[in-house]
Symmetry: C2
Subunit: 212 residues, 2 copies
DNA sequence: AGCTTCCTCGATCGAGCGTTCGATATATTA
DNA sequence: TAATATATCGAACGCTCGATCGAGGAAGCT
């Protein structure tokens, strides 16, 4: 009865966000189809039926996890790209952004890469659209990189894009944050590995150079 | 009553193999936990209970799919590697073998990369061992490549290994065999992309190369 | 013929699933 | 105080799942 000045919609949003985080963890641990709403209710400390006040179905829950995370990753990336001119630096920004977000939201990112097929109908369509957006941003950067460097055509752009995402997304299968390889280092490794193969020489880091 | 000279164990093995193929397809389509034994029985044209004559449990079925495929990929690879001396050619053989097997057994390979976590206990342990074997073969080849080239240390060997597997395994998420990119071409693209970043210049193909 | 082995099946069980519904407690507004 | 909106809960429903079991058909052997 003290400080309830703001509308309850804030508390509502906060609890929903907390539920989404817990759900993402459980989906990441056990897989979407193997996880039950009861698992989530137990970890959240609320009743089974009480959860349905915050989402309409298990699938909507899965959708919200993927939708919010993808939007966040895309928005953050576009923000970081704004001040960047060099094509190679754009690519470097994308890799660091993706890997960084990955390591800070392992559960959600695992759900995104692992449970894409678990969505159906309209949910699936909307996530597909977001994924294409993200993929397009990446592919356009690669096109730019190719244009402004002496890069040959080692691989078609779509193959290169998929290869890059493969390198980055596979992280969830082996990497544990806080290991002996820090995240920034890991991102830089992947960036150089890919760029070296894509344009035929190691990617430029903070200090740069040119070749012919 | 005509040609039943051989012991029935051959027919038994043939039917088991057919069931494993069907199960791999269904697991690949719907995911392990979302797929039911009844789905498999329907596609196989046999009764639900009849299936249990060929395997003890749904999880054993999943195990057999992964176990047989991994062994086959490893055996084939070791055979192909036998006559190869050059380190780079070994790497090229590995990539082509992996991608080739992938495209010919999409269902099984998808199950391997996607349903590893669905195994538990002893089953999980044994598949983990096979994966480590495979990964070790790859990492040793990379070590050799690094030793015999002017490769700098763009990335630690384990990071490079994981990146390579990421590039290759991500195929299942976007590639459709029989598309406008033939499998051998795709494998060569991935090989050059990776090698170029790993050793600092495009990987040697059958013919020429570049120096850096 | 009888006996045994390999194989297949329908019927069924208990458990767990996602979801619904009516009751209820609390806070806000009139 | 009464009325309303917000939030939570226990109990239950209908359904699907993996797995089991005993019956029985077909083939080979003695």
């Amino acid at each position: 009865m003290a400080d309830t000045a703001s509308p309850t919609s804030t508390e509502h949003e906060e609890k929903l966000e907390r539920l989404l985080t817990i759900a993402a963890e459980i989906f990441a641990e056990k897989g979407y189809h193997n996880a039950s709403i009861r698992d989530i209710s137990k970890r959240a400390g609320t009743s089974l039926s009480g959860l349905y006040y915050y989402f309409a179905s298990k699938e909507e829950l899965l959708f919200m996890i993927q939708d919010r995370s993808l939007r966040k990753v895309l928005t953050t990336l576009r923000g970081k790209l704004e001040g960047v001119d060099s094509a190679e630096e754009k690519l470097r920004t994308l890799v660091h952004n993706h890997v960084g977000f990955f390591s800070e939201n392992m559960a959600a990112m695992r759900v995104i890469t692992h449970e894409y097929d678990s969505l159906e109908g309209e949910y699936r369509t909307r996530i597909t659209e977001l994924r294409r957006e993200y993929s397009d941003v990446c592919q356009e950067i690669l096109r730019e990189v190719r244009r402004f460097t002496s890069a040959g055509d080692v691989a078609p752009l779509n193959v290169a894009t998929s290869a890059l995402f493969g390198m980055m997304n596979w992280i969830y299968a082996w990497y544990t944050p806080g290991s002996n390889v820090p995240v920034e280092r890991l991102a830089e490794h992947l960036y150089r590995l890919f760029t070296g193969g894509f344009i035929g020489r190691p990617g430029k880091s903070s200090r740069g150079r040119r070749a012919g």
